[in-house]
């Protein structure tokens, strides 16, 4: 298997004259491989047991790089432009900023408490990190390095930023509620009671609705962000953890169900329950909505689902204990 690492040093100088023709062909082939590597979509999967980030080439469904992170990485957010990946290490108490193209660690930012859920602003200039133990959401200005906090509820877990960048939603797990944060003033403007123990939270492309996966009540709360209230509750499988949206459908990973529940986003009618790997956790859709990817914690796999046909279309092995908690897909340019 040829493995091209974009961060590899410059290739060796071309061999001397006699082999020039063959070398030219080889070089052209190398360039082609490099460009295809750069254009393939990737999954940045936090493998918490392996203490690393598994980078999966989604066209091949194969782990192509493993980046040691440390501190038991759990949360992940790839910036919208795909330039950076932000990884939380709740045990190490830091955020790792990864240059996603070169797969190099840019810097490590200390964050007190237990940094877990993470989301980037749409322009990629700010990162929001939930401190699981400190009842707060931390904002990091990447250019200046400045940090500020806003108080949220108990055991803050998932974080999502609305597409217009104005609102941040935090799942306050042990308060059974979501906090709505105004991004400009960085203040908590509302709390919305949801099901029991919300963990993952996702906002739709229109910025109209948020969805929380409620682990202990086996359901998903659908929240109207303008009205700031729950407009529907979807019964799903056992121990729902995360939500992804694609092709007008709502996908929910059920940890104990070893399944993904699928609903119609408009009618909210249940469509299907797909069997996936063991103990599914992180769930995310490709930018075009064609595929949904799910990280399976017990079986150390990333599975690809076709969002339209609802068939399993691929599986990749990852490092031990994949969490992939957050927006873990880096889409091809």
């Amino acid at each position: 298997m040829v493995r091209i690492n974009a961060s590899a040093p410059h290739p060796n100088p071309l061999p001397a004259s006699g082999e020039r023709g063959r070398a030219r062909v080889l070089f052209a082939a190398l360039l082609l491989l490099l460009s295809s590597a750069a254009s393939a979509s990737e999954a940045f999967v936090t493998a918490q047991g392996a203490d690393a980030l598994s980078i999966v080439d989604l066209s091949k469904m194969e782990t192509v790089a493993t980046l040691p992170i440390g501190g038991k990485p759990a949360g992940i957010a790839v910036s919208r432009d795909g330039a950076r990946a932000f990884v939380t290490s709740p045990e190490g108490k830091f955020l790792t900023v990864v240059d996603a193209a070169t797969r190099r660690i840019e810097k490590r930012i200390p964050i007190e408490g237990g940094p877990l859920g993470v989301a980037a602003s749409p322009d990629g200039k700010r990162v929001y990190v939930a401190d699981l133990y400190g009842r707060r959401l931390v904002e990091i200005d990447l250019a200046s390095g400045a940090q500020r906090s806003v108080g949220v509820g108990a055991m803050a877990s998932g974080v999502a930023v609305a597409p217009d960048a104005r609102t941040i939603v935090v799942a306050d797990r042990d308060d059974n509620a979501l906090s709505l944060i105004d991004a400009a003033s960085f203040s908590r403007v509302a709390t919305v009671a949801v099901g029991k123990h919300p963990f993952g939270v996702t906002i739709d492309a229109a910025g109209a609705r948020a969805y929380s996966a409620n682990v202990e009540s086996d359901d998903v709360s659908v929240i109207d962000l303008r009205a700031r209230k729950v407009v529907a509750t979807l019964k799903c499988g056992s121990r729902p953890y995360t939500v992804a949206l694609a092709r007008g459908r709502v996908f929910v990973a059920n940890q104990h169900g070893d399944s993904v529940s699928v609903f119609d986003a408009e009618s909210l009618a249940p469509l299907e329950t797909l069997k996936v790997g063991e103990y599914p956790e992180g769930l995310a859709a490709s930018a075009d909505g064609a595929r949904v990817y799910v990280a399976n914690w017990f079986s150390n796999e990333l599975w690809a689902l076709d969002a339209r046909t609802l068939k399993i279309v691929g599986k990749a092995e990852t490092g031990d204990g994949p969490r992939a908690f957050g927006a873990f897909i880096r889409d091809a340019e």
Binding site: G49, K72, A74, P90, K93, V215, G321
Partner: protein, 198 residues
């Protein structure tokens, strides 16, 4: 293995007091199925080869309500049949303790059984939110490979754990638990007399 009746009687007499205390705690404590835990689940995987066909081993493993072959268990009280997320069992331990477990998965076709321990007792097991996934696979010569995977968190629910409730302690304890559970299952399925209880 069925325990001798006298054992149960002795156990009951000796530990009525302890059970009373446990019952009192149960009344006052909120009935939280899943206790508070941190951000880093831990995993231990162990397996063994059992000299019995998969069907026979599955019959034992999947009989959630009658798991009196588990090490240290005096008897089992069960409810909810074998329906996942409804079936519960109370393992009445020979030492008087009680362990409550919920059936989370029962897949006969794939021979997989999942369970979740409800309520944590870090004095008994210095880990929390213990979840197990037991998978049976056919092995050579008609034998069965039993894989027992555990997901759990350390005993201390937040960061900066005391040394007695850190990740390493939890991993050592769950590793020992899985080894003992697998040995007991192997003894039961192979029709051997289980080794003396610790």
């Amino acid at each position: 293995m069925r325990k001798a009746p006298v054992d149960i009687a002795v156990t009951r007499r000796l530990l009525l007091g302890a059970l009373g205390v446990a019952a009192a705690i149960a009344v006052f404590a909120p009935c939280a199925a899943f206790a508070a835990h941190g951000a880093s689940p831990l995993k231990v995987v162990d397996s063994t080869i059992v000299a019995a066909p998969p069907e026979k081993v599955w019959a034992i493993v999947s009989d959630f309500a009658h798991a009196d072959w588990l090490p240290g268990v005096a008897r089992v009280e069960a409810s909810g049949g074998d329906v996942p997320d409804e079936a519960r069992r109370r393992l009445i331990m020979a030492d008087g303790g009680v362990i409550e477990e919920l059936l989370t998965k029962r897949d006969t076709e794939r021979m997989m059984l999942g369970l979740h321990r409800e309520g944590d007792d870090v004095k008994r097991l210095p880990a929390t939110n213990y979840t197990a996934l037991i998978t049976l696979r056919p092995a050579a010569e008609g034998k069965t490979e039993v894989e027992w995977k555990a997901r759990f968190y350390r005993g201390h629910p937040t960061n900066d754990p005391p040394p007695e409730l850190n990740d390493d302690v939890a991993i050592v304890a769950v590793t020992a638990l899985l080894r003992a559970d697998l040995a007991a299952l192997k003894a039961k399925a192979e029709g051997r007399i289980p080794s003396p209880r610790p």
